[in-house]
Assembly symmetry: C2
Homo-oligomer: 641 residues x 2
C-alpha cells in the first residue's frame, strides 16, 4: 500500500522531517500546518523540495472548528478556508483534513453541518481541491466515524469525503463494525495510530501517548482489515502525537514508522491467512485490491547459540576467572583470532579481543560488554531476508579462510545479532582449536534463560517494534520496578516457546543502577545475563566454593518472604545463606541469585524455574536494585548537597 | 502540628531517607515496609538510628488485603499480621495502616469486615499496638472514608481507628462534608497528598502523580480544615508517590515536604481569618486545639528593583552594547566595586564583574547570566523573616563602607533574590557614582514585564512551592510548548497585581533550545528577560536603527496570523518588518519580539500589552523556538546519525 506520515509525528525542522521521511522510503507526507508556519521559506519551495526527494504531499492539516456554526461565522470560516486553499495550491496538496468542531457553540443539526460542508466542498471544487471530514473523539457534536459519514453522505458532494483515524475510533468504546461496509471510494484518507491503555481520557492520551501501530494496545490490524474490506485502496498514513517522538531523532522515528506500517500489513495478511485456514475447505482469502507486504516468516528460534563479549587483555583474565567460578570450562581458542570459547551445558560464551575487529571497536566505546548475541534459528538466511526486508542493517565482518560466515544484523544500539542455524552455527565450534574431548562441558548451568538490556530513555517502543518485526518476538506485560533512586520501566520480548527472552529496561531517572550501567555503556547495553539451572542450591554452593562474590541480600527480605509465601524455615535459611530470592505465581516457583557486577558493566543471574513459572521475579527487582545501590555507597547527588 | 512523612515519598536508601527527613525538621516518620526489607540491618537498629536523629516512628505500612475474606484466609492473614507486629515492636511503631482490600474475592458484608478487624485489633491490643483502617479509592468494596468509618464503629475496639488520606477522599467525586463531624479521637492518623487533575483514573494518578500539598489541584486546605474541625490533634503526614520525587535528591524532597506542610497550615489559618472577617461582627474564629504555623504575611511586591548580571571583562562590553541598542543608558559606576549600572524607564540592570564576589563565583559556573533578581517589596525585613521561616537560606555578601545592606535569600538554584524596600532599595543608586543628571533615563522601554527561567527536569513543582510559600506568588495555568526537538512545560508564578511575573520552563527533552540554555547554565537559569513598552513599533524601529539583531520570524507566520485574527494588512506588514509576533485573547492584545541570544545564555523580549492581555503569547512560543533552533543550524543528533 502507499504509505505516508504526518510531519507532526517527527521532531526537527520541516526540512529535517522531509529528509527523514524520504530516507525511510515513505511515498507521501501530510503537512501539519504549524510546520509550514515555522518554516523559513515559501510553500512552493516546500513542494519542490518534497518532490525532489520523491515525496508527494498528500494532505494538508488540520482545518478546525468549521461546521455547525452560525451564518456569520460560516462566512469567516469560508474566508479562512480560501487562504488555506491558496497554501494548498502552492504546496500541491490535493486534500485538506477538516476535523470535527470542538468549539462551545456548535449546532447539533446534521443538516446544518452537511450544508456548510457542502459549501466548503463547492469552494474546494472550484480549485480542484478536496475536503476530508474526520470525527475527533472529543468533538463537541461529531465524535464517531459513522456520524461523520452520515453528514458526508447528506452533504453529497464529490469533493467531500470521509477521513478515518484508527485512534479516534479505537480509543472510544465505539462500535466500528460498520467500517467494512462503508463505500471505500467515499473514504478519502486513512490515518493510523496506536495507543497504550493508560486509564486516561482520549484527549490526554491522544496528545501525548499515541504510538506506532504495533507499539500499543489498540486493534489497529483489525481496523485496517475493516478499512480494506470497504474497498479502500488509498494511502495509509501515520499521525502520531507522542512526547518521546517529539524528542527522538527524526530519522529514527521515520524509519520506525515505515517499519510499523510494513509490520501492520504483514499482520493483516497473516490474519487473513489464518482466517482462511480456519474457514471450511473451499473458503477463500478475502480478495484484496491492494498488495500487502509479504516478508519471509519469522524464524523459529531455539535460543542463544552463543554470547560474544568484547574484552581487552586486562579484563579478559578477570572475566575468565568469573566464568570459571560459574562452572564454565575453557573449551578452546579460535584458529586465527584472539578469541576464546567458554562453555557449560548448552551455554557458549565467546571472549573476543581480536585487534581491529568489530569487538575491539565496540570495546573502545562500551568497555567490556556483550557486543553480539548469536541466535539459533531454523533458517539463518531466511531470517536475514526478513530482517533486511524490515530495514535492519546487515553487517559483514572479516571472515578468515574456512571460517563460518554468520549472517549478522545490527540491533538498534549498533551491537550485533548473529543469525545461526544448524548448517552454520551447529559446528561453529569448529572455528576453534578445542582443548578437551568432545561433548558439552558439565556444570550446574544448562542454558541462557534471558539477557537483560538497558536502553536509553524514550527508546523502549522503538526496540519492541524492532524485535517484533525483525525476529517475530512478542512483548510481555510492562512493569515498573522501583530502584532506590528512581523508577525503571521493564518490558520483555520473547518467543512463544520462551526459548528466547530479552527483558528491555528503561530508567526514568539518571541515578538508578540501570541508568548508571547505561551511562557507562555510552548508550544501551546488556546489563545482566541470566543462566538457567535445574538445582540452584547446588549451583550456589559450587559458586560459593569457587569464591565468587554474590550480591548480598538483607535479612529482612527473608522474614518477609517467609511470611508472604509460608515457606519452610529450613529452605528460607538455605536461601538466605546464598542470597537466593524467591517468587511464586500460582504453582510456578522461581529461585534466583545475582553475582556482583563485573567491571560495573554487567552481572550474572542464576535462575531456576519450577512448574511453569513464566516471569522474571519482578517483585524482587527492588531488592536487587537496592543491593546494587548499597554496593556503591551513598548516592552522589546526596553527597553533593 | 506534629509533622511526619512516609519513607516511600523519598528516593534513596532507608538511612539516607531518615537523615533527610530529620534534616528537614520533621517530627516523625512512616516506615514503608519495602524500605525495611531492602535495608541491610535489623529493625531495632532502624529504631535506634531514627531516635538518635530525633525522629519517632509513628506508623508502619501498608498491611494489605486483610478484611472481608474467608475464615481460612483470615487465619493466614492473622498469622501474617503477627509477623508484622513482631517487626513493629522492634521498630517501636505503635500503629499499622491496614488499607482496604483490593482482592477479587472480598465479601461485601460490613459485619464480616468489622468482625475480622475486631479480631485483628484484639491481637494488636495484646501487644499494645493499634490498627488504623484506611479506604483506598480503588478498594474492591471499601472506597470511601465514611464506609471505612462505619466498619470501624461497628467493630468497636479501642485499638482500632480510622486513617484519613486526602488523596483517596479528594480524588474521588466523594462527598466529604461528614469529615468535620467525625469524632476526632477515632481518627488515628491523617495522611496528606495533593494531585493535579490529569484526566486519568485514581490508581494511575495515585501511583505516579501525587504531589505535595500546594503543588496540585485538590482542596487539601479544606480537607485539613474539616479534619481539625473533627477535633483531631494528631500528626499530619505526607504520603507521596511521585515519579519525579523517586528520582529527586531525598533532602530536597524532605525540605519541600516540610515547607508544604507549613504552607498548608498557613493557608488553613488565613482561610479561618478570612472566614471570620466575612462573618457577622462578633463571630469568632474556630477554636483550634492545635497551633497552626503563623509566619509574617507575604510582602507586597511592586516589581523588579533591578536585575544583576554576572559578567567578565570580555563580555561586559558586548552586553553594554546590546543594552545601549535596547535604549539603556549607562548611569554610573559603583563607588567601590567593579559594578556598572544601566537604566531606562523604571528598569535597572547591574553588570557585576567584581573579583571574589558572589557574581564572580556565579560567572565561573554559569557564564554571563542573571545572578540576582532584586524585588521592590513593602517591607524587606518582614519578607526576609517570612522566607527564613519557610526554610529559605539567607545570604550575606560583603558590604562596603556606607553601602546598602540588602537582605538576600537563595533561590533553589543558588542564585539570589534580593529583597529591597523604600528604605533600602529606594536609593540603592546612591551606591553608584552617577554619571548624568538626576531622573530616569528615557527610552521606549518602561519596566520589566517578566523574567523567564529554565529549570532542570523534575524541578517545576519544587520551584512553584518555593515561590508560593516564600514570596506569596501564585501559579498560573500550565502550558505545553512544542519546540522542534521536544516539549517544554511552562508555568508562570505571579502576584495578583501582575507586577511580578516569573514564567518557569522545563524541557522534557535534552535537545530543545530551553534545555540547551539550561545545560550551558550548568543547572537552572534565566533564559529571557521581557521588557515592557507602550509602543512596540517605535521601540522596534529604534532597536533596528541601533543595529540590534532581532530574531527572524518566517513569512508564513504572518500569512497565518493575518488569516486567524483578521488583522489589517498594513499592520501585519509592519509587524513582519520587525519580526513582531501577535496574540489576542478577548479584547486583550499582545505584541512581542525577541533579540537573538546573548552568548547563548539569554535573550531579551520586548512586549506590549493592550487592553488587559494577561498571558505570555504561548501560541507564538513554537515560532520563537523554531527560530532559535534555526539559528543553530541542523540539530546535532540529526547530523550524528
Amino acid at each position: 500500500m502507499r504509505k505516508a506520515i504526518a510531519t507532526v509525528s517527527l521532531s526537527g525542522t520541516l526540512i529535517e522531517k522531509l529528509e527523514a521521511i524520504a530516507a525511510a522510503r515513505f511515498d507521501g507526507v501530510e503537512i501539519f500546518e504549524n510546520d509550514l508556519l515555522f518554516h523559513t521559506g515559501a510553500a512552493r519551495d516546500v513542494r519542490r523540495y518534497a518532490s525532489d526527494l520523491g515525496l508527494s504531499i498528500d494532505l494538508f492539516q488540520p482545518f478546525r472548528d468549521f461546521e455547525g456554526v452560525s451564518d456569520a461565522q460560516l462566512r469567516r470560516n469560508l474566508d479562512r478556508a480560501e487562504r488555506k486553499f491558496d497554501l494548498m495550491e502552492e504546496l500541491g496538496a490535493p486534500l485538506i483534513l477538516v476535523c470535527s468542531n470542538v468549539g462551545t457553540e456548535v449546532s447539533d443539526d446534521d443538516a446544518r453541518m452537511a450544508d456548510q460542508l457542502h459549501q466548503l466542498a463547492e469552494r474546494a471544487a472550484r480549485r480542484g481541491l478536496k475536503i476530508g471530514f474526520e470525527a475527533l473523539s472529543w468533538g463537541t457534536r461529531v465524535r464517531t466515524y459513522d456520524r461523520a459519514f452520515g453528514i458526508v453522505e447528506r452533504a453529497n458532494h464529490p469533493h467531500l469525503g470521509l477521513i478515518l483515524d484508527s485512534f479516534h475510533t479505537l480509543a472510544l468504546p465505539d462500535d466500528w463494525s460498520g467500517i467494512a461496509g462503508l463505500p471505500g471510494q467515499r473514504v478519502f484518507f486513512v490515518q493510523l495510530a496506536d495507543a497504550p491503555r493508560l486509564g486516561m481520557n482520549a484527549l490526554t492520551l491522544s496528545r501525548h501517548f499515541r504510538c506506532l501501530p504495533g507499539q500499543g494496545d489498540l486493534d489497529v490490524p483489525g481496523f485496517l482489515r475493516a478499512v480494506l474490506a470497504s474497498g479502500y485502496t488509498g494511502t495509509i498514513s501515520l499521525e502520531i502525537f507522542n512526547d518521546d517522538m517529539r524528542a527522538a531523532p527524526p530519522r529514527q522515528t521515520a524509519a520506525d514508522g515505515h517499519r510499523s506500517l510494513l509490520f501492520l500489513e504483514e499482520r493483516v495478511r497473516r490474519g487473513d491467512e489464518a482466517a482462511a485456514q480456519e474457514a471450511a475447505a473451499g473458503a477463500r482469502r478475502p480478495r484484496r485490491r491492494v498488495e500487502l507486504f509479504d516478508p519471509p516468516l519469522p524464524p523459529a528460534i531455539a535460543g542463544h547459540r552463543f554470547l560474544e563479549v568484547a574484552v581487552d587483555e586486562r579484563c579478559e583474565g578477570a572475566l575468565a576467572r568469573l566464568l570459571t567460578q560459574l562452572g564454565f570450562r575453557r573449551m578452546g581458542r579460535h584458529r586465527t583470532k584472539e578469541v576464546t570459547l567458554y562453555g557449560q551445558g548448552e551455554i557458549r560464551m565467546v571472549l573476543n579481543r581480536e585487534p581491529d575487529s568489530f569487538a575491539s571497536s565496540y570495546f573502545l566505546v562500551h568497555g567490556p560488554s556483550v557486543c553480539a548475541q548469536a541466535l539459533a534459528t531454523d533458517d539463518a538466511l531466511a531470517a536475514l531476508g526478513r530482517a533486511e526486508s524490515y530495514g535492519a542493517a546487515r553487517f559483514g565482518g572479516r571472515i578468515g579462510p574456512d571460517e563460518h560466515a554468520f549472517p549478522s544484523i545490527r540491533a538498534p544500539d549498533g551491537s550485533l545479532i548473529i543469525l545461526t542455524d544448524a548448517q552454520t552455527g551447529g559446528d561453529f565450534e569448529s572455528d576453534f582449536v578445542l582443548e578437551a574431548a568432545a561433548g558439552a562441558p558439565a556444570g550446574h548451568l544448562t542454558r541462557i534463560d534471558h539477557v537483560a538490556q538497558a536502553l536509553p530513555e524514550g527508546q523502549l517502543d522503538s526496540w519492541v517494534l524492532f524485535y517484533r518485526s525483525v525476529l517475530g518476538l512478542e512483548p510481555e506485560d510492562s512493569m515498573m520496578l522501583p530502584d532506590p533512586y528512581g523508577l525503571v520501566r521493564s518490558k520483555a520480548v520473547s518467543n512463544a516457546e520462551r526459548s528466547l527472552r530479552l527483558p528491555l529496561n528503561i530508567s526514568e531517572s539518571r541515578n538508578t543502577a540501570t541508568a548508571r550501567l547505561v551511562t557507562s555503556f555510552a548508550g544501551a547495553g546488556v546489563h545482566h545475563i541470566a543462566l538457567a539451572t535445574d538445582d540452584i542450591f547446588a549451583a550456589a554452593e559450587a559458586l560459593k566454593a569457587a569464591g565468587a562474590t554474590l550480591l548480598p541480600i538483607p535479612a529482612n527480605y527473608y522474614d518477609d518472604v517467609a511470611a508472604r509465601f509460608g515457606l519452610d524455615d529450613a529452605v528460607v535459611a538455605r536461601m538466605q545463606s546464598f542470597g537466593i530470592l524467591y517468587d511464586r505465581v500460582g504453582e510456578g516457583e522461581f529461585f534466583h541469585l545475582y553475582t556482583t557486577p563485573f567491571e560495573e558493566r554487567f552481572y550474572f543471574e542464576l535462575v531456576q524455574r519450577r512448574d511453569g513459572y513464566d516471569l522474571y521475579g519482578a517483585p524482587n527487582a527492588p531488592v536487587r536494585m537496592a543491593a546494587l545501590a548499597a554496593l556503591r555507597g551513598p548516592n552522589l547527588s546526596q553527597v553533593l548537597r
